[in-house]
């Protein structure tokens, strides 16, 4: 009876939310107190959503948010707002995106893409997509990259992109791309897909270009090894990050060290050509609506003992500015796993993954002065501002 009432109630809320977009009514999630971590402030945004990936096959992925109005951090908001959804959002959240007031959660382990109302985190639809990885949108569709059943050590299996209708929340098309596709981005009338080949003995090095009208692969652009994140500049070009290649070698004392034979990098793809953006090394990155790509990384990511840099790349003129993290408050971040930047204030949010326990979310000013930090869930990684 309680469940039923809840369902009815959530549908009512949903209808209200859908009917008047951002209505003046207070979200039901205002009841979720959370933990106070900062002084409340008024600004462009109501919430910072954080998707914690969770541990692989542990079913402990969670959706948190930071509420700007009171400075409270709310853990597992999805679970609290949708208590009757069996096993919560599920396993291994791999991407989080906001589109037209809806929050899209890409659950890699569970094989679901969830659609939530960003206003109060209530579940609208769950769409089954095998091995989904990342998501991008155009006006009518969501596009989700997928490993499509490939397993490490198994046969070489090509990945796919699934197309989901924004009106029906149903998969209505698929197209085969390279092996283990990761980031996707829409620019112009094309969809760009970063192929990683992560399960292959030799990584992939291409971006598949899909013509949106025909939903067929129209070309493939050779870029760099093991591609991952993708961002659109909104003017027909995209940026893609590469994890590069590493090799093992022995030092004078006989110790084995891992070094980069091909650096982590950022590439711009424009038309059929790709060009490297000089001196940017990406371990995580975000596209901010202020026209800049923000990335954290360093030239020798895999060797350890590194010092991370924050890179800011203008998509208008390709100019790069970089700033060392060491010596600033941001050096407190143990393992940067995700980044988000607020347009306007320039505040930087960094998801800090702790591989043995819950991670943290940090907020810094654009000059790396600490504003607040909060204990998140397992492996916080993906953030969006609402």
């Amino acid at each position: 009876m309680k469940k039923c009432a809840l369902l009815v109630f959530s549908m009512v809320v949903l209808a209200v939310a859908a009917g008047c977009q951002k209505s003046e009514t207070t979200s039901r999630d205002a009841d979720l107190a959370g933990v106070n971590v900062a002084v409340g402030e008024k600004g462009l945004f109501a919430k910072l959503f954080v998707l914690n990936e969770g541990n692989f096959q542990k079913n402990n992925s969670t959706l948190d948010f930071f509420r700007f109005s009171d400075g409270n951090y709310v853990s597992d908001a999805f679970g609290s707002m949708n208590p009757a959804v069996v096993q919560g959002i599920g396993d291994t959240g791999n991407d989080l995106a906001l589109n037209e007031g809806k929050l899209w959660l890409v659950m890699n382990g569970s094989g679901y893409v969830h659609v939530l109302d960003a206003f109060d985190e209530t579940l609208i639809a769950s769409i089954a997509v095998p091995d989904p990885r990342y998501i991008a949108f155009d006006k009518y569709y969501a596009y989700v990259s997928s490993y499509a059943g490939a397993i490490y050590g198994g046969d070489e299996v090509k990945g796919k992109v699934y197309r989901i209708s924004l009106s029906t929340y149903k998969v209505d098309g698929e197209v085969e791309v390279g092996c283990q596709p990761e980031g996707v981005a829409v620019s112009g009338n094309k969809l760009y897909v970063a192929n990683s080949g992560g399960y292959n003995y030799i990584h992939e090095n291409t971006v598949s270009v899909i013509d949106l009208a025909s939903f067929k692969v129209s070309s493939s652009v050779t870029t760099a090894s093991n591609l991952h994140y993708m961002a659109s500049d909104g003017q027909g070009a995209v940026y893609v990050s590469s994890y590069g290649e590493s090799t093992w070698s022995q030092d004078a004392d006989g110790n084995w060290i891992q070094s980069m034979s091909e650096p982590m990098g950022l590439y711009k793809i424009s038309g059929a050509s790709s060009s490297q953006v000089k001196d940017v090394h990406v371990s995580c990155m975000t596209m901010c609506s202020d026209g800049y790509i923000y990335a954290i990384g360093n030239a020798e990511e895999l060797t350890g003992g590194y010092s991370n840099m924050l890179y800011k790349v203008s998509v208008k003129d390709g100019s790069v500015s970089s700033k060392a993290i060491s010596g600033t408050d941001a050096a407190k971040v143990g393992n940067p796993y995700g980044i988000c930047v607020a347009p306007g204030t320039g505040d930087i949010y960094i998801a800090d993954a702790d591989y043995t326990g819950p991670g943290k979310v940090w907020c810094f000013t654009k000059d790396f002065k600490e504003k607040w930090s909060a204990v998140a869930g397992m492996l916080p990684a993906h953030m969006v501002l609402y």
Binding site: Q57, K58, P83, G153, V157, P358
Partner: protein, 680 residues
């Protein structure tokens, strides 16, 4: 056998002009020790010379489950979890991995010994208790710290704690020279388990046992997935669904052949050949998955075989020697099916672990109060795996041990120093250099018989466990530069026999201990039971206490008893969060009640475990609920025209408790097993 002994003697470099020892030597020590430990007297006549390596004679008093108590459980893990200080990590179901963790040091720090020779594998050092058989065992003993007995091998000093499984020697009544036993078990999960054994007494007094058993089970069971949360307004909302555990079938066969030496005053030996083959489904953890996909289709096949022998000989009143040898082979085949690609080809992995072990030890009983034990063991392990870029590691390990024992009057002291040297070499992996690790492990064990029925004992021990091949060389998650785990233990305990009479017995045993674990390597099977991810938690401090109260009395024709065990363990992660380390409860314990009247025996056992956390951050989101289960067993022995028929009914989890020992691996609810055995 003679060849083995010869090699052992050469290794020792001892003077081998064989003297006829004339009945002194080993047996005498054994008898002395039995006197010191009177609870074993009853079995002394049947255990004969092999008693040297059983629990007798150890300064440290083990926790022990006897043959009678073994009769009331269905598996070894259920027997072992009755010990204090022990956590069984159980992934649930008939085929689920079951390992033992003693005093929060991790399962790799517990050596499991079958007739004095360790069962191990360099690949992951996990010993699955589910694969070891209770059949044919005389006793199961757990030594915290170490056993200190005459003529131990060097490896017996190397683990932080040791679980000893001792085979029961065949007993032939009257003029019988053959014993036959046949039986069948059947019960929940569509389990059928036939067994067969033949014991034979040779004319020269040697005896043998051939036994075989098989298990077939579909392993399926229902479980609940539920989560309810309380809201500030007092309302409660959530879900509770029933699911069925699938892909958890098991089929296994086991065959054993054992030969026991004739009874002799100066030598004894035992040889064992073992084969175990199994195929099982790996159900994996329970997590949310889109409807049309199964959670897991993965399969695992195992073939384990070993042959081992142990030899004791008393050379003179002063000298006695022993040798041990073992050759083993394990083949593990793991098949990873792509769940989301219908009809897709699986990934196959084959691991072949080869190992050869040789040990020689000698003891000199220099004076009635001083004896010296030296031992040298060597072992070679090699792992062959068809992984991409695998390095094919080989490992040569050498244990060298010097142990002295000082005993005078009520005080018994033993000091041991063990040197372990481990060299890894690679058959492939380019020009990668080998790795060498060596450690020194000292230990001190003391026992003071303060009064006739009151004993104080304690030990201090530093032991290391080497990183396994999986820790080091697993191609995707292995970390090449791991240090050995460093375990330091201090223990102070007491044994008090408050009442000992023909009619009733009451005894207390209590220990308090402090352990410190540094450089801890955590291997958690995140994706499934087979693939591990490695991380180094660094430092753990354990403050613990184990308490046992044992009471039994005779009334009329019956015997009744109660055994209560309680364990307190504060195991703090000193490197991160300062919380209780994963999966270790602060409080746990068990209570066992039994009654035995004219051939009927009933056992009721309650196990309870307090809350645990899945990470060292002890936040509510990572809490695992406490659980308690109630098990019962009834056994009846009948005489049918001179043959013995034994019937056993085990009812496990009577209250149908829904619980998890490992996060997302649900345990079965109520289940039963009926076993009937005919001996003739």
């Amino acid at each position: 056998m003679r060849c083995l002994a010869t090699v052992a003697f050469c290794l020792l470099g001892a003077v081998m002009a064989a003297r006829q020892p004339g009945g002194a030597g080993i047996l005498r020590y054994a008898q002395d020790d039995i006197v010191a430990q009177d609870d074993i007297v009853a079995q002394a006549d049947t255990l004969r010379a092999s008693v040297v390596s059983s629990t007798a004679g150890s300064i440290t008093v083990p926790q022990r489950i006897t043959f009678q108590q073994l009769g009331s459980v269905t598996g070894l893990s259920e027997a072992v979890r009755r010990f204090t200080g022990v956590q069984i990590r159980d992934y649930g179901g008939v085929g689920g991995l079951k390992t033992v963790n003693v005093r929060s040091l991790g399962s790799e720090h517990t050596g499991v010994f079958v007739d004095g020779i360790q069962i191990d594998n360099a690949q992951n050092m996990q010993v699955d208790l589910g694969r070891l058989n209770l059949e044919g065992l005389g006793s199961v003993s757990l030594f915290s710290g170490q056993k200190v007995a005459p003529l131990q091998s060097a490896k017996e000093y190397s683990s932080a704690s040791s679980l000893y499984l001792e085979s029961a020697e065949p007993v032939f009544s009257g003029s019988k020279a053959d014993n036959f036993k046949t039986g069948i078990g059947a019960g929940s999960f569509f389990t059928v388990a036939p067994k067969l054994s033949w014991e034979h007494l040779f004319r020269n007094g040697a005896s043998m046992r051939l036994s075989a058993d098989a298990v077939s089970s579909n392993g399926r069971y229902r479980f609940h997935v539920k989560d309810f949360r309380q809201y500030p307004d007092g309302s409660l909302a959530g879900y509770d669904t029933t699911m069925i555990r699938k892909n958890c079938d098991l089929s296994s066969v086991r065959a054993e052949a054992m030969v026991f030496s004739p009874s002799s005053g100066y030598e004894s030996w035992i040889i064992k050949a073992y084969f175990y083959g199994s195929g099982r489904g790996l159900p994996g953890p329970v997590y949310k998955k889109a409807g049309e996909y199964p959670l897991s289709l993965d399969r695992q096949t195992d073939r384990d075989a070993f042959i081992q022998g142990r030899y004791y000989r008393s050379l003179s009143d002063v000298w006695s020697v022993s040798g041990r040898a073992k050759i083993s082979f394990n083949h593990l085949e793991y098949i990873d099916f792509p769940e989301t690609l219908a009809g897709g080809n699986p990934a196959h992995y084959n691991y072949r672990n080869h190992s050869a072990y040789l040990s020689a030890s000698a003891m000199a009983r220099i004076s009635p109060w001083l004896s010296v034990n030296i031992a040298q063991d060597i072992q070679y392990d090699y792992l062959d795996a068809d992984l991409r870029g695998f390095v094919y590691p080989g490992r040569l390990s050498s244990w060298s041990c010097l142990s002295t024992r000082l005993g005078s009057g009520p005080v018994d002291l033993s000091a041991t120093i063990l040197y372990l040297d481990v060299n890894d070499r690679f058959l492939s992996g380019g020009d990668r250099a080998g790795a060498r690790r060596n450690v020194l492990m000292p230990s001190l064990v003391a026992r003071w018989k303060a009064a006739e029925r009151f004993t104080v004992n304690g030990f201090a021990k530093r032991s290391y466990r080497m990183p396994t091949f999986n820790d080091l060389y697993y191609t995707t998650v292995g970390t090449k530069t791991l240090d050995p785990e460093d375990a330091l233990q201090f223990d102070l305990g007491m044994d008090w026999v408050a009442v000992r009479s023909g009619a009733s017995n009451l005894s207390f045993k209590a220990d308090i201990y402090w352990n410190q674990l540094k450089n801890k390597i955590i291997a958690v099977p995140t994706s499934n039971q087979f693939r591990w991810s490695m991380y180094n938690i660094g430092k753990v401090a354990v403050l613990g206490s184990d308490v046992t109260v044992d009471y039994s009395f005779k009334a009329g024709r019956g015997e009744f008893g109660a055994l209560a065990r309680y364990t307190f363990q504060q195991a703090r992660d000193k490197s991160d969060w300062n919380g209780q380390i994963p999966y270790i409860p602060l409080h746990s314990g068990s209570v066992n009640l039994f009654g035995d009247i004219s051939g009927w025996r009933a056992d009721v056992t309650l196990f309870a475990t307090g809350e645990r956390f899945t990470t060292s951050a002890n936040l509510p989101a990572y809490r695992l609920a406490p659980w308690a289960t109630l098990d019962a067993a009834v056994t009846k022995n009948l005489s049918l025209r001179g043959n013995d028929l034994s019937l056993k009914l085990c009812l496990n989890n009577l209250l149908n408790e829904q619980y998890e020992i490992v996060d997302n691996y649900p345990m079965p609810g109520f289940n039963f097993l009926l076993v009937s055995t005919l001996s003739f």
